[in-house]
């Protein structure tokens, strides 16, 4: 699967990662499981898949899903049917920074399509693709609850709102130079200034 996608170097690294939680991640997983009554550990599946995705290269390989199934003592198919249902789980390798531009009504009314076109041109990729260096993937998303600060995009846990072309430039440059994004949110509702 990964050979069809650009940026093989990054993904090979993701592939080589041994599928075993670090001690810290394992502690997080145990804490999550402890939130549910005994015998209901399957309830931990969605949050644990988020931990697994962050731990094993930003996507859920079949090996990762099998590993999660073994930890929660459920069948592998129960993991796959969940991982394939929810949009936040990546079933194929992604770039290090996944840009998800919201395209639903309020964002469209405020120019989301132009933001998408701008990013496509800037990165030389289309929606659904990853840059050759494995740095950025571009996706479109449905309403992310930032309608009052449209247009917006989400990168990992960060919400980037009130987007302009200049702001997009800055976000991408930040990520390229520092390898991370500064804050979770940078929204500024006009009525709360």
């Amino acid at each position: 699967m990964s050979s069809q996608i650009h940026g093989a170097q990054h993904f090979d690294k993701a592939k080589r990662v041994e599928v075993k939680f670090s001690d810290e991640a394992m502690r997080t997983v145990q804490t999550i499981i402890s939130r549910y009554p005994e015998g209901k550990q399957k309830s931990a599946l969605l949050p644990v898949l988020h931990v697994a995705q962050a731990e094993f290269g930003g996507w859920l390989s079949p090996e990762t899903m099998d590993y999660v199934a073994s930890i929660l003592n459920i069948k592998p198919i129960e993991v796959f049917e969940v991982a394939s249902f929810y949009t936040m789980y990546n079933l194929k390798p992604m770039g290090k920074c996944v840009l998800e531009v919201c395209q639903t009504s309020s964002c469209w009314l405020n120019g989301a399509e132009d933001i998408v076109k701008y990013i496509e041109k800037k990165l030389g990729i289309k929606v659904g693709e990853t840059t050759k260096d494995g740095m950025f993937s571009l996706k479109v998303a449905e309403c992310l609850g930032s309608c009052g600060t449209a247009p917006m995009m989400q990168c990992g846990a960060s919400f980037h709102e009130n987007l302009t072309y200049e702001k997009v430039d800055r976000i991408l440059d930040d990520y390229k130079t520092q390898g991370k994004l500064r804050s979770y949110t940078d929204h500024d509702y006009k009525n709360t200034l």
Binding site: T87, S106, G111
Partner: protein
């Protein structure tokens, strides 16, 4: 200035912390309820308040609570629906991000009324950073003894946990949410049994929206009867409105139910009018699912009375000339907006979010998206308008959950009120997008 009960302290520095929240009267409802009221008395106050579900359906909260089955020896659960995904809605995110303790306080007070020893806040996965804020607040509440064993020495014990979802609009439907909380696909359940009888892990469960649960705090503090005096008729209390689109001041506003729609759109206190001096064309008043209304019908009812921000006034005229308050996702469109293209974004959304369980919704939403695409690329014919109408009518009421209706209503309303726009495109064989996006260049980066 209307009364504010939920986000009146949103600009207080540090209000997200327990210390500041407490200094501004936080957790008073927990003290009052646990120390001086029985659980039934708390429920009675909520009944008297006339509070209605703030997630969209508007079902009376006190009544929902009173349906909860209470068999001996079976645990009961309170689940907070923080899966805010209705396009145009972002009020819960604002509340949780700014004043997380308001939700946690409401969770404790409500759980006391329901006899729930454990509660879960199911938050959409995309709000990951908000979940972090909530978890920090919960840890503070545990450390200060507001959560955990024997709260305030009253013998009432309660645990509250956050669970993040995986990205699925359908999980805002309460039975899909419960499925998801159990670690499964978000496929809505067939009702009955309702969650009040068989909910989370088959146990009696109440599922309430974030804003509903937060509203329980002021209700207990001021008393249900006092709360009921705010608002008009059966629309009591205050409501958070998420205002977005072509307005000067998008954002979250807490209004007393009963504010005229015209005042809400044009006054400086709220939306501040239409951006760039443009004229108003249409409004989606309660999140993407509710019928869109043209200017003349959103400002005044068909009878010529001023339209008010209440459940009843917005609903006046049924779906022929009215709409719904819904979740309070208020999307404003100016004169240059293409209703057809806006509808396309909604329909694409519902097609994407259909869980796939029921064929009318799974197939119908896809067909509607395809037909609308024909309008956008200029290949639609006049008969496609009738086809679109026909398809939406065959989804509504024929699915397990209300996503079917949510997908059908916006299509029906767009054709009902803006049919000429569809016909013009079909006749001229071309779609011209004149929407102006100059906000992109307006915002100072």
């Amino acid at each position: 200035m209307g009364k504010k009960l939920l986000i009146h302290n949103d600009k207080v520095p540090g209000i997200a912390s327990l210390e500041v929240y407490r200094a501004h009267g936080g957790y008073a409802s927990v003290e009052k309820a646990l120390k001086s009221m029985t659980p039934d008395q708390v429920t009675d106050e909520v009944k008297k308040s006339g509070l209605r579900g703030r997630g969209g359906a508007g079902f009376p909260t006190g009544m929902k609570w009173s349906f909860l089955a209470k068999p001996e020896g079976v645990p009961r659960y309170l689940v907070c629906n923080a899966d805010e995904s209705e396009p145009g809605t972002f009020k819960d995110r604002y509340l949780m991000e700014k004043i997380p303790h308001a939700l946690i306080e409401g969770m404790i007070t409500s759980s006391y009324a329901l006899g729930a020893k454990t509660s879960y806040i199911y938050i959409r996965g995309e709000y990951f950073y908000v979940a972090r804020i909530l978890e920090t607040a919960i840890a503070e509440a545990y450390a200060a003894g507001w959560l955990g064993q024997n709260i305030l020495g009253t013998g009432f014990s309660h645990d509250c946990y956050v669970q993040v979802g995986g990205g699925a609009y359908i999980c805002g439907e309460e039975t899909a949410l419960l499925e998801s909380l159990e670690g499964k696909r978000g496929n809505p359940r067939i009702k009955p049994p309702f969650p009040a009888v068989a909910g989370l892990w088959g146990c009696p469960t109440v599922v309430n929206n974030v804003e509903t649960i937060a509203a329980v705090c002021p209700i207990i503090n001021m008393g249900g009867e006092e709360y009921a005096k705010i608002g008009i008729g059966k629309s009591t209390g205050t409501k958070l409105i998420s205002a977005s689109g072509h307005i000067n001041k998008p954002g979250v506003y807490e209004i007393e139910l009963g504010v005229p729609v015209e005042e809400f759109i044009y006054s400086e206190e709220y939306c501040g009018g239409i951006r760039n001096g443009k004229k108003l064309k249409a409004v989606v008043a309660g999140g993407s699912s509710v019928p869109i209304l043209p200017t003349e019908l959103i400002l005044k009812t068909a009878k010529g009375e001023p339209r008010l921000m209440t459940y009843e006034s917005l609903g006046d005229g049924g779906f022929i000339t009215g709409t719904m308050l819904g979740s309070g996702g208020f999307i404003v469109m100016d004169e240059d907006t293409s209703i057809v293209k806006n509808l396309f974004t909604f329909t694409r959304f519902y097609h994407h979010e259909s869980c796939g369980q029921c064929s009318p919704c799974r197939e119908g939403t896809g067909w509607m998206e395809k037909i609308l695409k024909k309008f956008l690329n200029g290949t639609a014919t006049e008969s496609d308008v009738d086809l679109l109408w026909d398809i939406q009518s065959k989804i509504e009421g024929k699915t397990i959950c209300p996503l079917g209706e949510a997908a059908a209503w916006p299509v029906a309303a767009a054709i009902r009120h803006f049919k000429q726009e569809f016909l013009d495109i079909a006749r001229s064989k071309k779609f011209v997008d004149i929407s102006h996006y100059n906000r992109l260049n307006q915002i100072v980066a």
